[in-house]
């Protein structure tokens, strides 16, 4: 390849370093979730700190949703939904992660210290 200069090697090396560090920074398990917010239709949102391991049950219109809480994360263990959508959301550990149980009209979301938008649509 003719016409290349030493500066090209420098720029490409810096670019590779930038891309590599972006992958490293963004994809390292961040955690940061400090509380679980359980929002159920017709009820005020309930907040559970993600501090010590425990299992809680939330009564809903279709049955009981069982939630496992561990330090920094939470997940839906069992929910009455027939497609296991709530369970398949897996561990919620980044602020903003959520799991939904429609039969129980329930939204589980973990939050971090800051207030964040869920989403915005245009």
């Amino acid at each position: 390849m003719h016409g290349l200069r030493w500066g090209d090697a420098l720029v490409v090396t810096l670019a590779l370093a930038l891309v590599g560090s972006a992958f490293g920074l963004v994809y390292t398990p961040a955690g940061g979730a400090t509380e679980l917010v359980v929002t159920q239709a017709g009820a005020a949102p309930r907040h559970f700190p993600l501090n010590e391991p425990r299992t809680i049950g939330i009564e809903g219109t279709a049955g009981v949703t069982t939630i496992r809480i561990e330090p920094g994360r939470a997940r839906c263990l069992h929910s009455p939904g027939s497609q296991n959508i709530c369970e398949r959301a897996g561990w919620l550990e980044r602020p903003g992660d959520m799991a939904v149980s429609l039969p129980n009209r329930l939204v589980l979301q973990v939050r971090g210290p800051g207030t964040d938008f869920d989403s915005m649509h245009f």
Binding site: G3, G7, D8, V11, F23, V26, Y27, G96, D118, F122
Partner: protein, 180 residues
């Protein structure tokens, strides 16, 4: 030293037309992931930069962003602002770098730097204003990787365009000319 202004303007218009054409053609190519595309108009910006100078590169780029958005029907939509933010970010990194061309840096280095700046600029605007979702940074590393690859490809293309003798005789030597 300077050509007559009419000629200069005609060259800017011709390059802007080429850039608009490339961007419209690219918009018609289906992409599996939004935000990832080759960015062939980058070639035209760089050709304008090293043949006509800094101000011409800004003019060609702004004409391209507005002209392509008129043809695509995205003027003043979020896509337009993203395009503009990317273009301005790319121009702002080219501002300090282009004087290193051609002695210390070829179009490859310029294109890679511009492509990464373009993606970063777009991303920052998207994250700050358009989709302020806490999970959005998860998209950034793959987008940057795609920008690196696209920048390298367009940079190699630009080098071969600029080595064409018909283009080569217009290439400025930044060490002997003043501001663009």
């Amino acid at each position: 030293m300077t050509a007559d202004p009419g000629n200069h303007d005609r060259r800017i218009a011709a390059l802007a037309a080429l850039a608009i054409g490339l961007q419209v053609i690219e918009a018609a190519i289906p992409s599996p992931v939004p935000g990832i595309k080759p960015g062939l108009a980058n070639v035209i910006t760089l050709v304008a930069l090293v043949t006509l100078g800094w101000r011409a590169a800004i003019a060609v780029t702004l004409l391209r962003v507005v002209g392509a958005s008129l043809l695509l029907g995205t003027l003043l939509s979020p896509g337009f602002w993203l395009s503009l933010a990317g273009a301005l970010a790319a121009l702002s990194i080219l501002a300090p770098l282009w004087r290193l061309y051609p002695h210390h840096l070829s179009a490859l280095g310029l294109a890679v730097a511009a492509a990464l700046a373009h993606t970063l600029g777009q991303f920052l605007l998207a994250w700050a204003l358009i989709i302020p979702h806490p999970q959005l940074p998860l998209l950034l590393p793959p987008l940057l990787l795609a920008a690196l690859i696209a920048g390298a490809v367009t940079g190699i293309l630009t080098n071969s365009v600029l080595s064409d003798p018909r283009i080569q005789r217009h290439v400025r030597n930044p060490s002997t000319t003043g501001t663009g």
